[in-house]
């Protein structure tokens, strides 16, 4: 599986934790105080608690359950019940490849993350989840006009909306659930960005009305 877009860099500031999913794998993505990012299997090596409920302490992620700390390498660095113990190197999380490019967080569950497939510089707009298949999202994108212009596909998830360039990156979360990350040409006015954010909403509604998951 190639690298998948799991969210925007701007939506994960330092010392914050979020949950993501790639190919059915439940993932915790977190950013240390120093800005470094890591993506792991969302299970604490101790008793399996979801690490996405955890919190960041300096440059380590602490599990909410018994407070074990894991540093960015995935290695357990501190066990509160045994404060004097140097935890053995065998205690570590399952790590995945993660990179940030074009303001997007990309995770690869199989390999070191290869940067995303964007071929031109774009600005992140927003990321959202539609309760429909990936195909339904793409189909709706071909038929949801923005200010009278129908999006013209130009390959690899890129579209032209009049003079605006737009990338629609999809990450299938299930047969009827798709994470959509939207990027646009850089330097657009705030007004245009707000209008495009609403266009994303229309796109979702159209996809959900026609897609398999539609009401």
């Amino acid at each position: 599986m190639p690298s998948m877009p799991v969210g925007l860099s701007r939506d994960l500031p330092p010392k914050r934790v979020m949950r993501a999913s790639v190919g059915g794998q439940d993932i915790v993505v977190w950013r240390a105080s120093n800005g470094d990012i890591a993506a792991w299997d969302n299970r604490c090596p101790h008793r399996g608690m979801a690490l996405s409920h955890g919190f960041v302490r300096g440059n380590a992620l602490a599990c909410l359950y018994h407070g074990w700390h894991y540093e960015q390498s995935g290695r357990c660095s501190y066990i509160p019940a045994h404060p004097d113990l140097d935890p053995p190197a065998t205690i570590h999380t399952t790590r995945f490849g993660v990179t940030e490019r074009d303001g997007v967080i990309w995770v690869d569950t199989t390999d070191t993350a290869k940067p995303g497939m964007l071929t031109e510089p774009l600005d992140p707009l927003r990321s959202l989840i539609a309760e429909v298949s990936e195909a339904a999202v793409e189909a709706a994108c071909h038929s949801t006009p923005f200010e009278g212009e129908m999006p013209q596909p130009s390959g690899s998830g890129l579209y032209a909306l009049g003079t605006i360039r737009l990338a629609l990156l999809t990450n299938p979360l299930g047969p009827n659930r798709t994470q959509v990350t939207v990027l646009t040409s850089p330097g657009l006015s705030l007004q245009t960005r707000l209008a495009l954010s609403r266009w994303c909403e229309t796109l979702r509604r159209n996809a959900e009305a026609t897609g398999t998951g539609g009401a």
Partner: protein, 222 residues
Amino acid sequence: MSHFTLYTYVLSASCYKVRLMAALLGVPYDSVAVNFYPGFEHRSEAMLALNPWGTLPILRAGDLVLTETQAMLGWLATNHDPTGRWYPAADPALGPQVLQWLGLAARLTGSAGLARLHAILDWPVDGEAVRKAALKDLQELELLLTDRVLAGQTWLVGDHPTIADIACFPHAALSPDAGLEHDGFPAIRNWLYAVRSLPGFVTMPGIHELHELREREPADPQ
């Protein structure tokens, strides 16, 4: 000195809304615990005499009795926030926006609030219908908060938290109780975090404090 009496129930998100606002403004009050569930004491004759609507919370300050949480937040801010920033009622731009959000907060109470009561107390409502309505309300909240993020802002209105944020916070924060996770709502997530970071923030079951702010290790650069 106590400034009011709050009739309250520990698991109620609506009651928590008022406790949170009072805590953020540092307003002391007396609590009367009402056995909402399983006692349904809020529907007893004595309670209906105080609040014919049969809802919680109820705020009493002298002769004044308030039964709508949005009004309670307005009362707290008007009487106990000398800075006037929590409820800029007279500001021609900000005032109406706050009122708009108070209306949306009432919608959230009727969707996310009911979906949660259905999930945790088996409240007799159409669970699927309220959950659907709640999802839609959260999607609209996410859209409007994304507007704020794109404009470089943190709060719902202006550049300071207002009663609008507090009015919407509890039901949005507790939506996972009804199976409505925040994974697809990054703007909501970051706004919830900002509210939880406010000085004086208090918790309720399901909304815990930020551990990262509580105890700091020496190694922590902040």
